[in-house]
Symmetry: C2
Subunit: 344 residues, 2 copies
């Protein structure tokens, strides 16, 4: 199947300067893929020209006259900027002209606009932000990472279904294991929402592992980690902060004296491959799940390689038909729940 | 002031084998400190003998006939083991024979027992677990780390007061800054409890910075980070998991081939000082705050050096009069709130 990806070319801290080269690399890597660059025509054309490229049958430039600022209030952006690059790019998914949309823009505005334009999938109450995180065993999908502060048990269960389908799609795996993020104290085993969500997950057809704790995320104990958006956001940001601190400590230790700097030169190949392994750009791209369309959010500060990785993720999602699988799974689970006595 | 610390000598994965040598090192480091080793007399005496040490005026052995297992249900331990080393060690704080108690035992049982025996400080509704975490600027105090799943705004405010007093005591600093852990999405700024807690903290005499995000913990943006126990526990455990993963990746990169192993030998002094800097043992010791007595929880798997660090923390707390400061601050804040029009 020929896939078309619409790109909010103006989104992110660097706009077209990052999105255009990423799109060109993406087109080169996938001869069966088309791209629509949405945004200020002049800016996009200038970036294309600077890279000796131009629009053609596989690369279309779609002019949009407005840009959503990175710090703009989501509801204002939604209300006032109907011709923003973000909104028009999402519209292309709605009309079927694109199979997926990628934006590095304002997360809140992207979520609000995508939800307004695309609407929710049947059976899903709230969208969730899902992301692959590196683990000792490979990578795991964690959701929600900040779209929902308070979650009902049913919503956490839906996150489980969406996460399992996304993980399966991105890793070509059936029946991934799902864990529910909880705390380890013996006395208290989570709040009521988490306890009830565990019951729902246990009763479902998902491969439910049970409760997991924070350290299980990076151990790779399960393929999918389900949590509410408050907890997930704190876990993600805390991880980012810790990784930065460790990186800085390591750099400092290797530059404390002239002979330590010399050792750093000797150790450079090892340190570089360590750095490559820890490179967050390779897992750039968070999926906005639960919508009637594929939307991938790139980190706002993404460089061209990182944005390219987000495009790759959108392509994988589009190819795998992840939305169809989510709807199907939810429907079959609901049928099962409705008729518990019936043999399968 | 001469300080006496009671030690649950049987607690933790290694019991007296770890607690006794740590106590001996502690006594050596502080000539004005006394220690009471509580637990099975024979086991303690055997460990002392193996280290050519014996009880004396500064080192007392207090026999307790029972031991709380690491996986024992807290309420059962509280009900059935009235002569456990943990309970007797806490009792010594209650009776005034010790100024602080340190245990590496079962967290839930320690919390339940300490709360039952010591009772809460006036003005504090729930105890909290607080810990110093390393940051880019030094260290910050984070609480609650798992004692309370759901917290009211008033409780979060009380955590702020307790954390500020603890940080001040351990770091000899007045007026430390306090931040409230929240999420960064523009659209949603935390749940109701967090929003209301921010109001209480802002209206208090504390040096309230405002909301902070997960990455601010390790940036060291504030001295004290306040959160509910669910979020705090996930943040802490996630950090532990990530630190372990990064450590493993680094080791793997340095051992992938014979020449990389050779580079590791050359880089050994740098890697060792990096490892020392990241050593979690140096910050071992979580304070059970809010009780009418000082109780410090050591990691269950602590070795003798780590347990020694927890003893140091208990000593600092006892010397600084942290409990008195918490009570005083809470009382003065309440007075302020009650008479807002009165000039200070």
């Amino acid at each position: 199947m020929e896939i078309t990806v619409s790109i909010d070319a103006m989104g992110g801290d660097h706009g077209a300067h990052v999105t255009v080269p990423a799109a060109l690399k993406f087109l080169k890597a996938h001869p069966d893929v088309n791209v629509v660059l949405v945004g200020l025509g002049d800016a996009i054309e200038a970036e294309l020209k600077a890279r000796h490229a131009s629009a053609g049958p596989r690369l279309r430039v779609h002019h949009a006259s407005e840009v959503v600022a990175m710090d703009e209030a989501p509801q204002l952006a939604l209300k006032n900027k109907k011709d923003s690059s973000m909104r028009v790019a999402i519209n292309l998914v709605k009309t079927g002209e694109a199979h997926a949309c990628v934006s590095a823009g304002n997360t809140g505005a992207l979520m609000a606009t995508a939800r307004f334009v695309l609407k929710m999938l049947p059976g899903i109450e709230r969208p969730a932000i899902a992301k692959m995180l590196p683990t000792m065993r490979g990578s795991s999908c964690v959701l929600d990472l900040g779209a929902n502060v308070d979650c009902t048990p049913a919503q956490l269960y839906q996150f489980g279904v969406m996460g399992a389908m996304l993980f399966g799609a991105l890793n070509h795996r059936d029946n991934p294991s799902v864990g529910l993020l909880n705390i380890g104290s013996e006395e208290i085993k989570g709040n009521d929402a988490v306890k009830e969500a565990a019951e729902l997950l246990r009763a479902s057809k998902l491969n439910f592992y049970g409760n997991v704790e924070g350290d299980d995320i990076y151990k790779g104990t399960v393929d999918v980690v389900v949590c509410d958006g408050f907890t997930g956001n704190v876990a993600l940001k805390t991880s980012e902060g810790l990784a930065k601190m460790i990186g800085q400590f390591l750099r400092e230790e290797f530059s404390k004296s002239w002979w330590r700097k010399l050792i750093a030169v000797v150790a450079a190949p090892v340190l570089l491959s360590f750095r490559h392994r820890m490179d967050p750009r390779r897992l750039n791209g968070a999926s906005l799940l639960g919508l009637r369309g594929i939307v991938v959010k790139s980190h706002g500060g993404a460089d061209s390689f990182a944005f390219y990785c987000a495009l790759e993720q959108a392509l994988e999602e589009a190819r795998s038909g992840v939305l169809h699988k989510i709807t199907e799974t939810l429907a079959s689970h609901t049928a099962l729940t409705a008729t518990p006595a019936e043999p399968e």
